[in-house]
Amino acid sequence: MSDKYGLKDWQELPLGGVIPEGGNAADYETGTWRTWRPVWLKDGCIHCLTCWVFCPEGAYVLKDGKTPKGKDRKEIREINYYHCKGCGLCAKECPVNKKGKTEAIQFIREEI
């Protein structure tokens, strides 16, 4: 049995608070926390993956790509807004943004 909010009774819980499955962070929607939004700008991006490393929610999605010289590499494909919580770390750490001439990640107020 579960209550009107879908919460389980004590008998249904695994013991000791164990979560008996892996990878279920994917089910957790942190996108609802967002009040500021990073917008990835494909044209400015040099695919250094710094944003992907720093993102605490794993919101950056990668794809296979090639360097200008034709070597295999991973590239940014998009931001998954189901998980992006708008913390702004990516925009802060992006080396293109840091140089200041142009932007690879824009960080803007969520529109109402």
Binding site: K8, L15, G17, V18
Partner: protein, 393 residues
């Protein structure tokens, strides 16, 4: 073949640990439990156990390492006393909350200050609310037997809770007594294989341990723990019965000594029960109906069973070997709770004794029985509670 040996209480615990051969022992030795880990470290060094022995830098780390190893999927044990148990405190609650069947041999010793290495029960009694099963032992035989039963109790599917096997520091831990050690293979069969529950090292089936509960789930998890504790009572009865079938020594939730027709009953924990039995035999020979109820399982506390066992008695003396400063001793409080609904309710009073190893001699116990006789004859309790054998009264 089981054999009679002359061995110390600590030695007996170490023997039990050798026979069980747990996956991991993490320990930081402290008097008077030191010999347990010394002996066990020798077994490990000599290849007599398959155990991973982790020597850590504090008891907090010892319990943390035990917890990690248990969650990883191992059968895990340690031993400690007094201040060592106190330093484990934080992790005791984590272990029970995470439902890890960790075993600790607690060699009871007084807590500082003043520094004192001798026996009382303030260490384990202080941990009585930590969600651990607590089983107490009168002598080295019982301590050993309880160790053998402990993994079977803790790992039972209805239980899965950590457990303390408690024995008196020095009085039992350092005394050689004749006792019966069981055959290694029989012990192995009795204890059985460890079954892990969502082991972290089972990487094919990943799990997360130690996550957060807010007001949405915390109390449901605590309810589960409470029910598991209540389940301990039938499980202890069942495992004790199996132990009796296998090894021939009978244990119950508590021991009843000359209790059936007793009018005056003393209730006590651990080694003092031996002295009490000795004096009870004398007093019985003189025709007095006296008896002993010796606590074995203190957590969970078998309220109903104890109330039933005391239904014929007229006066109860509770001996606490620990204090709850500013309150009655922990055992007395439980006995009062157990007897609240009793009709008629026996007269009840409390005596605290033995703190920091202060002896209680046979004559002191004779005096106790004199006192209970007087109280019963006069129909009133003169002093509800006081410390025995204290200079200045």
């Amino acid at each position: 073949m089981s054999k009679f040996s002359a061995i110390t209480g600590n030695g007996a615990i170490a023997e039990a640990m050798r026979q069980i051969s747990p996956d991991v022992v993490a320990a930081f030795p402290i008097t008077p439990s030191t010999q347990i880990i010394e002996d066990f470290a020798k077994f490990a060094a000599d290849g007599k156990v398959d155990t991973e022995l982790i020597t850590v830098e504090s008891e907090h780390s010892a319990m943390s390492a035990c917890l990690g190893a248990s969650v990883a999927g191992g059968r895990v044990m340690t031993a400690t006393s007094a201040n060592g148990l106190a330093l484990m405190w934080e992790m005791l609650y984590v272990a029970s909350g995470m439902r890890q069947p960790i075993l600790v041999a607690v060699v009871n010793r007084a807590l500082s200050a003043p520094i004192n290495i001798h026996c009382d029960h303030n260490d384990s009694m202080g941990a009585r609310d930590a969600g651990w099963i607590q089983i107490y032992a009168e002598n080295n035989q019982e301590a050993y037997d309880n160790m053998l039963m402990a993994p079977v109790i803790t790992e039972h599917a209805d239980v899965r809770l950590p457990l303390m096997v408690c024995l008196d520091g020095f009085i039992i831990s350092h005394s050689i007594e004749t006792m019966q050690l069981e055959d290694d293979s029989k012990v192995k069969d009795f204890v059985g294989e460890h079954t892990a529950y969502h082991a972290l090292l089972d990487t094919d089936n990943p799990s997360t341990w130690g996550s957060l509960d807010l007001h949405d789930y915390y109390i449901e998890h605590k309810k589960g723990q409470q029910v598991a504790m209540e389940n301990v009572i039938p499980v202890v009865e069942e495992v004790s019965e199996r132990f009796y079938q296998e090894f021939g020594r009978k244990y119950e939730l508590f021991e009843s000594y000359c209790l059936d027709d007793a009018e005056r009953v003393v209730i006590a924990i651990n080694s003092v029960a031996g002295e009490l039995k000795e004096v009870i035999d004398e007093v019985r020979d003189a025709g007095e109906k006296v008896g002993l109820l010796k606590i074995r399982l203190f957590r969970p506390f078998p309220y109903a069973e104890i109330a039933a066992a005391l239904k014929n008695c007229k006066i109860v003396t509770v001996l606490d070997r620990s204090t709850s400063m500013g309150a009655y001793g922990p055992l007395f409080v439980e006995i009062c709770s157990a007897l609240y609904d009793a009709d008629p309710r026996p007269m009840l009073y409390s005596r605290t004794f033995g703190l920091g190893g202060r002896e209680l001699l046979l004559n002191d116990i004779r005096d106790l029985f004199e006192e209970s006789k007087r109280y019963l004859d006069e129909g009133k309790i003169e002093k509800r509670s006081y410390f025995l054998n204290v200079r200045g009264g």
